[in-house]
Protein backbone atom coordinates (compact mmCIF):
# COMPACT_ATOMS: atom_id res chain seq x y z
CA UNK A 1 0.00 0.00 0.00
CA UNK A 2 1.41 3.39 -0.94
CA UNK A 3 2.04 5.95 1.74
CA UNK A 4 -0.74 8.29 0.60
CA UNK A 5 -3.26 5.49 0.32
CA UNK A 6 -2.29 4.31 3.78
CA UNK A 7 -2.75 7.82 5.10
CA UNK A 8 -6.18 8.09 3.53
CA UNK A 9 -7.22 4.82 5.00
CA UNK A 10 -5.80 5.93 8.30
CA UNK A 11 -7.75 9.17 8.17
CA UNK A 12 -10.91 7.35 7.20
CA UNK A 13 -10.46 4.84 9.98
CA UNK A 14 -9.92 7.62 12.51
CA UNK A 15 -13.01 9.44 11.30
CA UNK A 16 -15.12 6.34 11.58
CA UNK A 17 -13.75 5.68 15.04
CA UNK A 18 -14.61 9.23 16.10
CA UNK A 19 -18.13 8.95 14.69
CA UNK A 20 -18.61 5.58 16.37
CA UNK A 21 -17.49 6.81 19.74
CA UNK A 22 -19.78 9.79 19.60
CA UNK A 23 -22.65 7.46 18.67
CA UNK A 24 -21.81 5.25 21.63
CA UNK A 25 -21.87 8.24 23.94
CA UNK A 26 -25.14 9.47 22.47
CA UNK A 27 -26.78 6.09 22.83
CA UNK A 28 -26.40 6.27 26.60
CA UNK A 29 -28.98 9.00 26.82
CA UNK A 30 -31.42 7.36 24.42
CA UNK A 31 -34.88 6.68 25.66
CA UNK A 32 -35.41 3.04 26.41
CA UNK A 33 -31.84 2.43 27.47
CA UNK A 34 -28.91 1.04 25.54
CA UNK A 35 -29.75 -1.17 22.64
CA UNK A 36 -27.61 -4.27 22.72
CA UNK A 37 -27.83 -4.90 18.98
CA UNK A 38 -26.87 -1.38 18.06
CA UNK A 39 -24.02 -1.33 20.56
CA UNK A 40 -22.73 -4.61 19.18
CA UNK A 41 -22.74 -3.29 15.63
CA UNK A 42 -21.02 -0.09 16.72
CA UNK A 43 -18.31 -2.03 18.50
CA UNK A 44 -17.77 -4.23 15.43
CA UNK A 45 -17.28 -1.18 13.25
CA UNK A 46 -14.97 0.34 15.83
CA UNK A 47 -12.93 -2.83 15.96
CA UNK A 48 -12.55 -2.93 12.15
CA UNK A 49 -11.68 0.73 12.02
CA UNK A 50 -9.18 0.40 14.80
CA UNK A 51 -7.50 -2.63 13.24
CA UNK A 52 -7.21 -0.81 9.95
CA UNK A 53 -5.93 2.26 11.77
CA UNK A 54 -3.20 0.22 13.44
CA UNK A 55 -2.18 -1.68 10.36
CA UNK A 56 -2.07 1.43 8.22
CA UNK A 57 0.04 3.20 10.83
CA UNK A 58 2.47 0.32 10.80
CA UNK A 59 2.56 0.54 7.04
CA UNK A 60 3.22 4.23 7.03
CA UNK A 61 6.92 3.73 6.79
CA UNK A 62 10.13 3.75 8.76
CA UNK A 63 9.95 7.47 9.54
CA UNK A 64 7.56 6.74 12.39
CA UNK A 65 9.00 5.79 15.75
CA UNK A 66 8.46 2.19 16.59
CA UNK A 67 5.88 1.47 19.22
CA UNK A 68 7.17 0.56 22.64
CA UNK A 69 7.26 -3.08 23.64
CA UNK A 70 3.94 -4.73 24.43
CA UNK A 71 2.17 -3.20 27.32
CA UNK A 72 0.40 -5.52 29.77
CA UNK A 73 -2.99 -4.97 28.18
CA UNK A 74 -2.67 -6.03 24.59
CA UNK A 75 -5.94 -5.30 22.92
CA UNK A 76 -5.07 -6.42 19.43
CA UNK A 77 -5.12 -10.15 19.86
CA UNK A 78 -7.77 -10.61 22.47
CA UNK A 79 -11.13 -10.73 20.82
CA UNK A 80 -12.88 -11.16 24.11
CA UNK A 81 -11.98 -7.70 25.19
CA UNK A 82 -13.11 -6.04 22.04
CA UNK A 83 -16.73 -6.87 22.38
CA UNK A 84 -17.19 -5.80 25.93
CA UNK A 85 -20.67 -4.63 25.35
CA UNK A 86 -22.76 -2.33 27.38
CA UNK A 87 -25.50 -4.07 29.26
CA UNK A 88 -28.73 -2.22 29.60
CA UNK A 89 -27.39 -0.71 32.76
CA UNK A 90 -26.83 2.84 33.80
CA UNK A 91 -23.09 3.00 33.27
CA UNK A 92 -21.91 0.30 30.92
CA UNK A 93 -18.56 0.68 29.23
CA UNK A 94 -17.21 -0.79 26.05
CA UNK A 95 -13.97 -2.54 26.62
CA UNK A 96 -12.25 -0.89 23.72
CA UNK A 97 -9.01 0.53 24.89
CA UNK A 98 -9.28 3.98 23.40
CA UNK A 99 -12.87 4.41 24.44
CA UNK A 100 -12.03 3.46 27.96
CA UNK A 101 -9.21 5.88 28.10
CA UNK A 102 -11.55 8.63 27.14
CA UNK A 103 -14.40 7.70 29.39
CA UNK A 104 -12.64 6.38 32.42
CA UNK A 105 -10.02 9.01 32.96
CA UNK A 106 -11.63 12.36 33.18
CA UNK A 107 -8.62 14.16 34.43
CA UNK A 108 -5.72 13.19 32.30
CA UNK A 109 -3.56 15.40 34.35
CA UNK A 110 -0.33 13.98 33.20
CA UNK A 111 -0.54 15.25 29.68
CA UNK A 112 -2.12 17.90 27.61
CA UNK A 113 -4.91 15.94 26.01
CA UNK A 114 -5.46 18.56 23.40
CA UNK A 115 -2.25 17.62 21.71
CA UNK A 116 -2.17 15.59 18.56
CA UNK A 117 -0.76 12.11 18.64
CA UNK A 118 2.91 12.58 18.18
CA UNK A 119 5.59 10.05 17.94
CA UNK A 120 6.99 11.51 21.11
CA UNK A 121 4.33 9.80 23.12
CA UNK A 122 5.89 6.53 22.21
CA UNK A 123 9.17 7.68 23.61
CA UNK A 124 7.98 9.06 26.91
CA UNK A 125 9.92 8.05 29.94
CA UNK A 126 8.56 4.92 31.59
CA UNK A 127 7.50 6.70 34.75
CA UNK A 128 5.16 8.94 32.86
CA UNK A 129 3.87 6.14 30.67
CA UNK A 130 3.16 3.57 33.30
CA UNK A 131 0.31 5.52 34.84
CA UNK A 132 -1.99 4.76 31.95
CA UNK A 133 -2.84 1.43 30.53
CA UNK A 134 -1.86 1.44 26.89
CA UNK A 135 -2.15 -1.08 24.13
CA UNK A 136 -0.59 -1.02 20.75
CA UNK A 137 -2.34 2.24 20.16
CA UNK A 138 -0.86 5.21 21.85
CA UNK A 139 -2.78 7.13 24.44
CA UNK A 140 -5.58 9.59 23.78
CA UNK A 141 -5.98 9.53 20.01
CA UNK A 142 -6.57 12.94 18.58
CA UNK A 143 -10.10 12.31 17.46
CA UNK A 144 -11.43 11.93 20.98
CA UNK A 145 -13.13 14.78 22.76
CA UNK A 146 -11.00 16.72 25.16
CA UNK A 147 -11.15 15.45 28.68
CA UNK A 148 -9.61 18.35 30.48
CA UNK A 149 -11.34 19.49 33.62
CA UNK A 150 -13.50 22.53 33.22
CA UNK A 151 -11.91 25.50 34.90
CA UNK A 152 -13.76 27.88 37.17
CA UNK A 153 -13.22 31.54 36.39
CA UNK A 154 -9.93 32.64 37.82
CA UNK A 155 -8.45 29.19 38.02
CA UNK A 156 -5.31 28.26 36.28
CA UNK A 157 -4.27 24.94 35.01
CA UNK A 158 -1.36 23.34 36.80
CA UNK A 159 0.65 20.34 35.78
CA UNK A 160 -0.09 17.55 38.18
CA UNK A 161 2.89 16.34 40.18
CA UNK A 162 4.29 13.04 39.06
CA UNK A 163 3.76 10.13 41.36
CA UNK A 164 0.53 11.59 42.69
CA UNK A 165 -2.14 9.47 44.24
CA UNK A 166 -3.77 9.04 40.86
CA UNK A 167 -1.04 6.63 39.86
CA UNK A 168 -3.22 3.66 40.43
CA UNK A 169 -6.37 5.26 39.11
CA UNK A 170 -5.89 4.25 35.53
CA UNK A 171 -5.64 0.57 36.14
CA UNK A 172 -8.35 0.33 38.69
CA UNK A 173 -10.81 2.32 36.60
CA UNK A 174 -10.33 0.18 33.55
CA UNK A 175 -10.49 -2.98 35.58
CA UNK A 176 -13.71 -1.68 37.07
CA UNK A 177 -15.15 -1.04 33.63
CA UNK A 178 -14.47 -4.58 32.43
CA UNK A 179 -16.14 -5.97 35.50
CA UNK A 180 -19.17 -3.76 35.08
CA UNK A 181 -19.77 -5.10 31.64
CA UNK A 182 -20.22 -8.55 33.04
CA UNK A 183 -23.84 -8.73 34.00
CA UNK A 184 -25.00 -9.33 37.48
CA UNK A 185 -27.99 -11.46 36.53
Amino acid sequence: MSATAAMEVNAEARRILAVSISKLYASRTQRGGLRLHRSLLLSLVMRSARDIYHSSRENEGPSCAQPTPEEPMDTGSNPGELTGLPEPQPEPQPALNSAELASEEPDSAEEDSDSEITEDKENLSPTRQSRKRRGKASAAPDFLPSKRARLEPGEERYAAPLGSCRAGAGESLTALSLNRVIPAF
Binding site: G33, L36, H37, L40, G84, P88, F185
Partner: protein, 449 residues
Amino acid sequence: MAVVVVLKANDVQWCFSQVKGAIDDDVAEADIISTVEFNHSGELLATGDKGGRVVIFQQEPECKSQPQCRGEYNVYSTFQSHEPEFDYLKSLEIEEKINKIRWLPQQNAAQFLLSTNDKTIKLWKISERDKRPEGYNLKEEDGRYRDFNTVTTLRVPVFRPMDLMVEASPRRVFANAHTYHINSISVNSDCETYLSADDLRINLWNLEITDRSFNIVDIKPANMEELTEVITAAEFHPNQCNTFVYSSSKGTIRLCDMRASALCDKHSKLFEEPEDPNNRSFFSEIISSISDVKFSHSGRYMMTRDYLSVKIWDLNMESRPVETYQVHEYLRSKLCSLYENDCIFDKFECCWNGNDSVVMTGSYNNFFRMFDRGYRQDVTLEASRENSKPRSVLKPRKVSTGGKRKKDEISVDSLDFNKKILHTAWHPMDNIIAVATTNNLYIFQEKLN
Protein backbone atom coordinates in the same frame (compact mmCIF):
# COMPACT_ATOMS: atom_id res chain seq x y z
CA MET B 1 -38.43 -2.91 -39.00
CA ALA B 2 -41.02 -4.78 -37.05
CA VAL B 3 -41.08 -4.20 -33.37
CA VAL B 4 -42.57 -6.96 -31.33
CA VAL B 5 -44.04 -5.96 -28.04
CA VAL B 6 -44.41 -8.81 -25.62
CA LEU B 7 -46.95 -8.12 -22.96
CA LYS B 8 -45.70 -9.22 -19.62
CA ALA B 9 -47.89 -11.97 -18.36
CA ASN B 10 -48.15 -10.47 -14.95
CA ASP B 11 -49.02 -6.84 -15.30
CA VAL B 12 -50.53 -5.99 -11.98
CA GLN B 13 -51.06 -2.29 -11.72
CA TRP B 14 -51.35 -0.71 -8.35
CA CYS B 15 -53.68 2.16 -7.57
CA PHE B 16 -53.85 4.48 -4.69
CA SER B 17 -56.78 3.69 -2.44
CA GLN B 18 -56.47 5.53 0.86
CA VAL B 19 -54.05 7.30 3.14
CA LYS B 20 -54.44 7.53 6.91
CA GLY B 21 -52.74 9.96 9.22
CA ALA B 22 -51.94 13.63 9.55
CA ILE B 23 -50.98 15.66 6.54
CA ASP B 24 -48.54 18.09 8.19
CA ASP B 25 -44.90 17.71 7.49
CA ASP B 26 -44.21 18.21 11.17
CA VAL B 27 -44.34 14.68 12.46
CA ALA B 28 -45.15 14.19 16.12
CA GLU B 29 -42.89 11.44 17.40
CA ALA B 30 -45.75 9.58 19.02
CA ASP B 31 -47.45 9.24 15.63
CA ILE B 32 -44.58 7.42 14.00
CA ILE B 33 -45.94 4.07 12.83
CA SER B 34 -43.91 1.19 14.17
CA THR B 35 -45.80 -1.89 12.99
CA VAL B 36 -48.51 -2.88 10.48
CA GLU B 37 -50.34 -6.19 10.34
CA PHE B 38 -53.38 -7.61 8.56
CA ASN B 39 -55.42 -10.20 10.42
CA HIS B 40 -55.90 -13.68 8.99
CA SER B 41 -58.95 -12.81 6.92
CA GLY B 42 -57.63 -9.43 5.81
CA GLU B 43 -60.75 -7.74 7.07
CA LEU B 44 -58.84 -5.97 9.82
CA LEU B 45 -55.63 -3.99 9.59
CA ALA B 46 -53.79 -3.01 12.76
CA THR B 47 -51.09 -0.40 13.20
CA GLY B 48 -48.99 0.36 16.25
CA ASP B 49 -47.14 3.58 16.84
CA LYS B 50 -44.37 5.05 18.93
CA GLY B 51 -46.87 6.51 21.36
CA GLY B 52 -48.03 3.04 22.37
CA ARG B 53 -51.34 3.22 20.57
CA VAL B 54 -52.97 0.61 18.39
CA VAL B 55 -55.35 1.63 15.63
CA ILE B 56 -57.42 -1.02 13.90
CA PHE B 57 -59.05 -0.43 10.54
CA GLN B 58 -61.88 -2.55 9.21
CA GLN B 59 -62.63 -3.15 5.59
CA GLU B 60 -66.11 -2.13 4.53
CA PRO B 61 -68.06 -4.84 2.78
CA GLU B 62 -67.77 -4.54 -0.99
CA CYS B 63 -70.40 -2.22 -2.32
CA LYS B 64 -72.51 -3.76 -4.98
CA SER B 65 -72.77 -0.54 -6.96
CA GLN B 66 -69.01 -0.34 -7.45
CA PRO B 67 -67.78 -3.87 -7.90
CA GLN B 68 -64.43 -2.67 -9.20
CA CYS B 69 -63.60 -1.15 -5.91
CA ARG B 70 -62.78 -3.31 -2.97
CA GLY B 71 -64.02 -2.06 0.34
CA GLU B 72 -62.29 0.81 2.06
CA TYR B 73 -60.61 0.53 5.40
CA ASN B 74 -62.04 2.73 8.13
CA VAL B 75 -61.15 3.13 11.76
CA TYR B 76 -62.66 0.34 13.80
CA SER B 77 -60.98 0.72 17.16
CA THR B 78 -58.25 2.82 18.77
CA PHE B 79 -56.74 2.09 22.13
CA GLN B 80 -53.68 2.78 24.22
CA SER B 81 -51.88 -0.53 24.40
CA HIS B 82 -48.72 0.36 26.29
CA GLU B 83 -47.70 3.27 28.48
CA PRO B 84 -44.19 4.49 29.19
CA GLU B 85 -42.76 2.76 32.23
CA PHE B 86 -39.75 3.18 34.41
CA ASP B 87 -37.46 0.41 35.57
CA TYR B 88 -36.37 1.72 38.94
CA LEU B 89 -33.74 -0.94 39.45
CA LYS B 90 -31.83 -0.02 36.33
CA SER B 91 -32.88 3.62 36.16
CA LEU B 92 -34.13 3.07 32.66
CA GLU B 93 -37.16 4.27 30.89
CA ILE B 94 -39.13 1.60 29.03
CA GLU B 95 -40.49 2.94 25.79
CA GLU B 96 -44.14 2.51 25.01
CA LYS B 97 -43.45 2.07 21.31
CA ILE B 98 -45.29 -0.93 19.88
CA ASN B 99 -42.65 -3.13 18.31
CA LYS B 100 -44.93 -5.82 16.90
CA ILE B 101 -48.58 -6.76 16.60
CA ARG B 102 -49.67 -10.28 15.79
CA TRP B 103 -53.26 -11.39 15.33
CA LEU B 104 -54.60 -14.63 16.68
CA PRO B 105 -56.72 -16.70 14.31
CA GLN B 106 -60.35 -15.93 14.99
CA GLN B 107 -62.13 -18.53 17.07
CA ASN B 108 -65.30 -16.75 18.12
CA ALA B 109 -67.04 -13.44 17.62
CA ALA B 110 -64.24 -11.48 19.24
CA GLN B 111 -60.83 -10.69 17.75
CA PHE B 112 -57.60 -11.14 19.65
CA LEU B 113 -54.20 -9.67 19.05
CA LEU B 114 -50.85 -9.64 20.79
CA SER B 115 -49.02 -6.35 21.00
CA THR B 116 -45.59 -5.85 22.49
CA ASN B 117 -43.22 -3.09 23.45
CA ASP B 118 -39.62 -3.64 24.55
CA LYS B 119 -40.48 -5.55 27.70
CA THR B 120 -44.16 -6.50 27.97
CA ILE B 121 -46.55 -8.40 25.73
CA LYS B 122 -50.28 -7.91 26.02
CA LEU B 123 -53.21 -9.90 24.71
CA TRP B 124 -56.06 -7.65 23.67
CA LYS B 125 -59.63 -8.68 23.03
CA ILE B 126 -61.55 -6.58 20.57
CA SER B 127 -65.26 -7.18 20.68
CA GLU B 128 -68.35 -5.55 19.29
CA ARG B 129 -71.39 -4.53 21.13
CA ASP B 130 -74.38 -3.58 19.06
CA LYS B 131 -77.29 -4.18 21.37
CA ARG B 132 -78.09 -3.56 24.97
CA PRO B 133 -80.76 -4.77 27.33
CA GLU B 134 -83.62 -2.39 28.04
CA GLY B 135 -86.73 -2.58 30.13
CA TYR B 136 -85.47 -3.70 33.50
CA ASN B 137 -88.04 -3.90 36.23
CA LEU B 138 -85.93 -2.66 39.08
CA LYS B 139 -83.64 -0.20 37.32
CA GLU B 140 -84.23 2.94 35.30
CA GLU B 141 -82.63 3.24 31.90
CA ASP B 142 -79.84 5.31 33.38
CA GLY B 143 -79.07 2.66 35.99
CA ARG B 144 -80.65 4.19 39.07
CA TYR B 145 -82.72 1.84 41.10
CA ARG B 146 -86.45 2.42 41.01
CA ASP B 147 -88.44 2.86 44.13
CA PHE B 148 -89.98 -0.55 44.73
CA ASN B 149 -93.33 0.98 45.55
CA THR B 150 -93.65 2.33 42.02
CA VAL B 151 -93.21 -1.07 40.42
CA THR B 152 -96.68 -2.29 39.54
CA THR B 153 -96.11 -4.41 36.44
CA LEU B 154 -93.66 -7.09 35.42
CA ARG B 155 -91.95 -7.08 32.08
CA VAL B 156 -89.20 -9.02 30.42
CA PRO B 157 -86.13 -6.97 29.51
CA VAL B 158 -85.34 -7.13 25.82
CA PHE B 159 -82.23 -6.46 23.75
CA ARG B 160 -82.51 -3.41 21.61
CA PRO B 161 -80.05 -2.33 18.94
CA MET B 162 -77.62 0.42 19.78
CA ASP B 163 -74.84 2.19 17.93
CA LEU B 164 -71.98 -0.17 17.34
CA MET B 165 -69.41 0.05 20.07
CA VAL B 166 -66.04 -1.63 19.67
CA GLU B 167 -64.33 -2.39 22.92
CA ALA B 168 -60.73 -3.32 23.41
CA SER B 169 -59.79 -4.86 26.72
CA PRO B 170 -56.49 -6.29 27.89
CA ARG B 171 -57.02 -9.93 28.70
CA ARG B 172 -53.47 -10.98 29.56
CA VAL B 173 -50.28 -9.16 30.40
CA PHE B 174 -47.08 -11.14 29.90
CA ALA B 175 -44.44 -9.20 31.78
CA ASN B 176 -41.03 -9.51 33.39
CA ALA B 177 -39.69 -12.25 31.17
CA HIS B 178 -37.23 -10.31 29.06
CA THR B 179 -34.02 -8.69 30.18
CA TYR B 180 -33.26 -7.34 26.74
CA HIS B 181 -35.45 -5.60 24.20
CA ILE B 182 -38.18 -7.68 22.60
CA ASN B 183 -37.90 -7.67 18.83
CA SER B 184 -40.41 -10.36 17.75
CA ILE B 185 -43.52 -12.23 18.74
CA SER B 186 -45.02 -15.09 16.79
CA VAL B 187 -48.19 -17.09 17.37
CA ASN B 188 -47.87 -20.83 16.98
CA SER B 189 -50.08 -22.73 14.55
CA ASP B 190 -51.46 -24.61 17.56
CA CYS B 191 -53.12 -21.32 18.61
CA GLU B 192 -52.24 -22.10 22.20
CA THR B 193 -48.69 -20.90 22.46
CA TYR B 194 -46.57 -18.10 21.13
CA LEU B 195 -42.92 -17.10 21.27
CA SER B 196 -41.30 -13.80 22.16
CA ALA B 197 -37.70 -13.02 21.29
CA ASP B 198 -35.29 -10.45 22.63
CA ASP B 199 -31.64 -9.87 21.74
CA LEU B 200 -30.38 -12.96 23.50
CA ARG B 201 -33.31 -15.17 24.48
CA ILE B 202 -36.51 -16.63 23.12
CA ASN B 203 -39.36 -17.55 25.42
CA LEU B 204 -42.35 -19.80 24.80
CA TRP B 205 -45.64 -18.78 26.37
CA ASN B 206 -49.03 -20.33 26.79
CA LEU B 207 -51.65 -17.75 25.92
CA GLU B 208 -53.53 -18.56 29.10
CA ILE B 209 -50.61 -18.36 31.51
CA THR B 210 -48.95 -15.07 32.25
CA ASP B 211 -46.79 -15.77 35.26
CA ARG B 212 -44.30 -18.06 33.61
CA SER B 213 -42.78 -18.94 30.27
CA PHE B 214 -40.31 -21.48 28.99
CA ASN B 215 -36.96 -20.29 27.78
CA ILE B 216 -36.28 -22.15 24.55
CA VAL B 217 -33.26 -20.32 23.18
CA ASP B 218 -30.50 -18.63 25.15
CA ILE B 219 -27.46 -17.35 23.32
CA LYS B 220 -26.14 -15.23 26.12
CA PRO B 221 -22.47 -16.10 26.63
CA ALA B 222 -21.12 -16.70 30.12
CA ASN B 223 -18.88 -13.73 29.63
CA MET B 224 -20.64 -10.85 27.94
CA GLU B 225 -17.38 -9.65 26.51
CA GLU B 226 -17.46 -12.68 24.24
CA LEU B 227 -20.76 -11.67 22.69
CA THR B 228 -20.56 -11.71 18.93
CA GLU B 229 -24.13 -11.93 17.73
CA VAL B 230 -27.66 -11.19 18.85
CA ILE B 231 -31.08 -12.47 17.83
CA THR B 232 -32.80 -10.07 15.48
CA ALA B 233 -36.08 -11.81 14.58
CA ALA B 234 -37.93 -15.05 15.22
CA GLU B 235 -41.00 -16.75 13.79
CA PHE B 236 -42.94 -19.97 14.16
CA HIS B 237 -43.44 -22.18 11.13
CA PRO B 238 -46.94 -21.62 9.72
CA ASN B 239 -47.88 -25.31 9.78
CA GLN B 240 -45.45 -27.22 11.94
CA CYS B 241 -46.06 -26.28 15.52
CA ASN B 242 -42.72 -27.67 16.66
CA THR B 243 -40.57 -25.59 14.30
CA PHE B 244 -39.39 -22.04 14.51
CA VAL B 245 -36.55 -19.96 13.09
CA TYR B 246 -34.52 -17.10 14.42
CA SER B 247 -32.19 -14.78 12.58
CA SER B 248 -29.03 -13.17 13.88
CA SER B 249 -27.04 -10.02 13.51
CA LYS B 250 -24.39 -12.06 11.71
CA GLY B 251 -26.72 -12.88 8.83
CA THR B 252 -27.45 -16.45 9.82
CA ILE B 253 -30.79 -18.14 10.36
CA ARG B 254 -31.25 -21.08 12.66
CA LEU B 255 -34.16 -23.45 12.40
CA CYS B 256 -35.02 -25.21 15.62
CA ASP B 257 -37.22 -28.15 16.48
CA MET B 258 -38.76 -28.01 19.91
CA ARG B 259 -39.09 -31.77 20.01
CA ALA B 260 -35.33 -32.17 20.05
CA SER B 261 -34.80 -30.71 23.50
CA ALA B 262 -36.23 -28.30 25.97
CA LEU B 263 -33.55 -25.72 25.32
CA CYS B 264 -33.12 -25.33 21.58
CA ASP B 265 -29.61 -23.93 21.65
CA LYS B 266 -28.50 -26.51 19.13
CA HIS B 267 -30.13 -25.69 15.86
CA SER B 268 -31.52 -28.30 13.55
CA LYS B 269 -30.51 -26.30 10.52
CA LEU B 270 -28.22 -23.35 10.01
CA PHE B 271 -28.79 -21.18 6.96
CA GLU B 272 -25.83 -19.08 6.00
CA GLU B 273 -24.45 -17.69 2.79
CA PRO B 274 -20.69 -17.25 2.58
CA GLU B 275 -19.71 -13.61 2.39
CA ASP B 276 -18.52 -12.22 -0.90
CA PRO B 277 -14.92 -11.16 -0.23
CA ASN B 278 -15.17 -8.46 -2.88
CA ASN B 279 -17.77 -6.64 -0.90
CA ARG B 280 -15.84 -6.43 2.31
CA SER B 281 -15.85 -3.06 4.02
CA PHE B 282 -15.97 -1.49 7.46
CA PHE B 283 -19.69 -1.98 7.37
CA SER B 284 -19.97 -5.53 6.04
CA GLU B 285 -21.08 -6.81 9.39
CA ILE B 286 -23.76 -4.20 9.86
CA ILE B 287 -25.31 -4.68 6.45
CA SER B 288 -25.37 -8.45 6.78
CA SER B 289 -27.43 -8.24 9.95
CA ILE B 290 -30.88 -9.64 9.24
CA SER B 291 -33.68 -7.28 10.16
CA ASP B 292 -36.67 -9.52 9.40
CA VAL B 293 -37.47 -13.14 8.71
CA LYS B 294 -40.81 -14.38 7.37
CA PHE B 295 -41.98 -17.83 6.40
CA SER B 296 -43.91 -18.18 3.16
CA HIS B 297 -47.55 -19.07 3.61
CA SER B 298 -46.78 -22.54 2.30
CA GLY B 299 -44.07 -23.06 4.86
CA ARG B 300 -41.67 -24.27 2.22
CA TYR B 301 -39.62 -21.08 2.02
CA MET B 302 -38.53 -18.27 4.24
CA MET B 303 -37.46 -14.77 3.37
CA THR B 304 -34.84 -12.66 5.12
CA ARG B 305 -34.14 -8.96 4.80
CA ASP B 306 -30.75 -7.48 5.37
CA TYR B 307 -29.79 -3.90 4.68
CA LEU B 308 -29.37 -4.12 0.94
CA SER B 309 -31.18 -7.25 -0.15
CA VAL B 310 -34.02 -9.72 0.26
CA LYS B 311 -33.16 -13.42 0.18
CA ILE B 312 -35.47 -16.37 -0.28
CA TRP B 313 -34.33 -19.59 1.33
CA ASP B 314 -35.60 -23.08 0.67
CA LEU B 315 -35.89 -24.81 4.02
CA ASN B 316 -34.30 -27.85 2.46
CA MET B 317 -31.12 -26.05 1.48
CA GLU B 318 -28.92 -24.44 4.08
CA SER B 319 -25.92 -23.51 2.03
CA ARG B 320 -27.29 -20.49 0.23
CA PRO B 321 -30.54 -18.74 -0.64
CA VAL B 322 -32.43 -19.84 -3.72
CA GLU B 323 -33.18 -16.26 -4.74
CA THR B 324 -31.58 -12.93 -3.91
CA TYR B 325 -33.12 -9.59 -4.79
CA GLN B 326 -31.24 -6.32 -4.54
CA VAL B 327 -33.40 -3.69 -2.95
CA HIS B 328 -31.15 -0.66 -3.33
CA GLU B 329 -27.69 -1.80 -4.36
CA TYR B 330 -26.82 1.80 -5.28
CA LEU B 331 -26.45 2.46 -1.56
CA ARG B 332 -23.45 0.16 -1.27
CA SER B 333 -21.08 2.96 -2.15
CA LYS B 334 -22.76 5.28 0.35
CA LEU B 335 -22.45 3.13 3.42
CA CYS B 336 -20.17 5.54 5.21
CA SER B 337 -22.65 8.42 4.97
CA LEU B 338 -25.48 6.08 5.89
CA TYR B 339 -23.49 5.09 8.93
CA GLU B 340 -23.01 8.69 9.94
CA ASN B 341 -26.66 9.58 9.62
CA ASP B 342 -27.68 6.34 11.34
CA CYS B 343 -29.68 5.07 8.38
CA ILE B 344 -27.51 1.97 8.19
CA PHE B 345 -29.18 0.81 11.40
CA ASP B 346 -32.68 0.99 9.92
CA LYS B 347 -34.57 -2.26 10.25
CA PHE B 348 -36.62 -2.94 7.16
CA GLU B 349 -39.32 -5.56 7.18
CA CYS B 350 -40.53 -7.69 4.30
CA CYS B 351 -43.68 -9.58 3.43
CA TRP B 352 -45.12 -12.20 1.09
CA ASN B 353 -48.27 -11.92 -0.97
CA GLY B 354 -51.05 -14.42 -0.43
CA ASN B 355 -49.81 -17.07 -2.83
CA ASP B 356 -46.09 -16.52 -2.19
CA SER B 357 -45.44 -15.38 -5.74
CA VAL B 358 -44.42 -11.81 -4.92
CA VAL B 359 -42.43 -10.33 -2.06
CA MET B 360 -42.35 -6.72 -0.95
CA THR B 361 -40.09 -4.53 1.13
CA GLY B 362 -39.48 -0.85 1.75
CA SER B 363 -36.67 1.54 0.95
CA TYR B 364 -35.88 5.26 1.21
CA ASN B 365 -37.55 8.28 -0.34
CA ASN B 366 -40.86 6.58 0.47
CA PHE B 367 -40.09 3.99 -2.18
CA PHE B 368 -41.08 0.39 -1.79
CA ARG B 369 -40.10 -2.54 -3.94
CA MET B 370 -41.92 -5.64 -5.15
CA PHE B 371 -40.19 -8.67 -6.57
CA ASP B 372 -42.17 -11.14 -8.61
CA ARG B 373 -40.51 -14.47 -8.11
CA GLY B 374 -42.15 -16.23 -11.00
CA TYR B 375 -41.78 -13.66 -13.73
CA ARG B 376 -38.49 -12.33 -12.41
CA GLN B 377 -39.70 -8.77 -12.51
CA ASP B 378 -39.31 -6.09 -9.96
CA VAL B 379 -40.90 -2.71 -9.58
CA THR B 380 -40.28 0.36 -7.46
CA LEU B 381 -43.29 2.35 -6.36
CA GLU B 382 -43.66 5.44 -4.24
CA ALA B 383 -46.05 6.28 -1.43
CA SER B 384 -46.57 10.00 -1.53
CA ARG B 385 -49.32 12.53 -1.24
CA GLU B 386 -48.64 13.66 -4.78
CA ASN B 387 -49.81 10.32 -6.12
CA SER B 388 -52.87 10.18 -3.96
CA LYS B 389 -55.75 10.85 -6.25
CA PRO B 390 -58.34 8.14 -5.75
CA ARG B 391 -57.71 5.14 -7.94
CA SER B 392 -54.78 6.79 -9.69
CA VAL B 393 -52.36 4.21 -10.99
CA LEU B 394 -48.91 4.26 -9.42
CA LYS B 395 -46.16 4.90 -11.86
CA PRO B 396 -43.02 2.81 -11.48
CA ARG B 397 -40.09 4.82 -10.19
CA LYS B 398 -36.45 4.43 -11.03
CA VAL B 399 -33.26 5.47 -9.32
CA SER B 400 -30.52 6.35 -11.75
CA THR B 401 -27.27 4.72 -10.85
CA GLY B 402 -25.08 5.51 -13.82
CA GLY B 403 -23.78 8.88 -14.85
CA LYS B 404 -26.61 9.84 -17.13
CA ARG B 405 -29.92 10.47 -15.46
CA LYS B 406 -32.91 9.86 -17.66
CA LYS B 407 -36.03 11.92 -17.39
CA ASP B 408 -38.26 10.88 -14.49
CA GLU B 409 -35.39 9.12 -12.81
CA ILE B 410 -34.14 10.19 -9.42
CA SER B 411 -30.46 10.39 -8.66
CA VAL B 412 -29.16 8.67 -5.57
CA ASP B 413 -28.08 11.97 -4.05
CA SER B 414 -31.57 13.42 -4.20
CA LEU B 415 -33.12 10.57 -2.25
CA ASP B 416 -34.65 11.66 1.02
CA PHE B 417 -33.26 9.33 3.68
CA ASN B 418 -35.65 10.66 6.27
CA LYS B 419 -38.54 9.23 4.32
CA LYS B 420 -38.19 5.54 4.89
CA ILE B 421 -40.67 2.72 4.55
CA LEU B 422 -39.80 0.14 7.18
CA HIS B 423 -43.19 -1.56 7.57
CA THR B 424 -45.36 -3.05 4.87
CA ALA B 425 -48.13 -5.63 4.90
CA TRP B 426 -49.94 -7.61 2.23
CA HIS B 427 -53.53 -8.75 2.48
CA PRO B 428 -53.55 -12.53 2.99
CA MET B 429 -55.74 -13.17 -0.01
CA ASP B 430 -56.21 -10.12 -2.22
CA ASN B 431 -53.89 -7.69 -3.87
CA ILE B 432 -54.28 -5.01 -1.25
CA ILE B 433 -51.19 -3.66 0.46
CA ALA B 434 -50.62 -1.40 3.43
CA VAL B 435 -47.45 0.68 3.36
CA ALA B 436 -46.36 2.80 6.30
CA THR B 437 -44.35 5.95 5.73
CA THR B 438 -43.15 7.77 8.83
CA ASN B 439 -46.55 8.73 10.14
CA ASN B 440 -48.98 7.89 7.35
CA LEU B 441 -50.48 4.59 6.30
CA TYR B 442 -51.07 4.16 2.59
CA ILE B 443 -53.39 1.53 1.23
CA PHE B 444 -52.98 0.50 -2.38
CA GLN B 445 -55.11 -1.90 -4.35
CA GLU B 446 -54.72 -3.74 -7.58
CA LYS B 447 -56.39 -2.03 -10.48
CA LEU B 448 -59.46 -4.05 -11.37
CA ASN B 449 -61.19 -3.76 -14.69
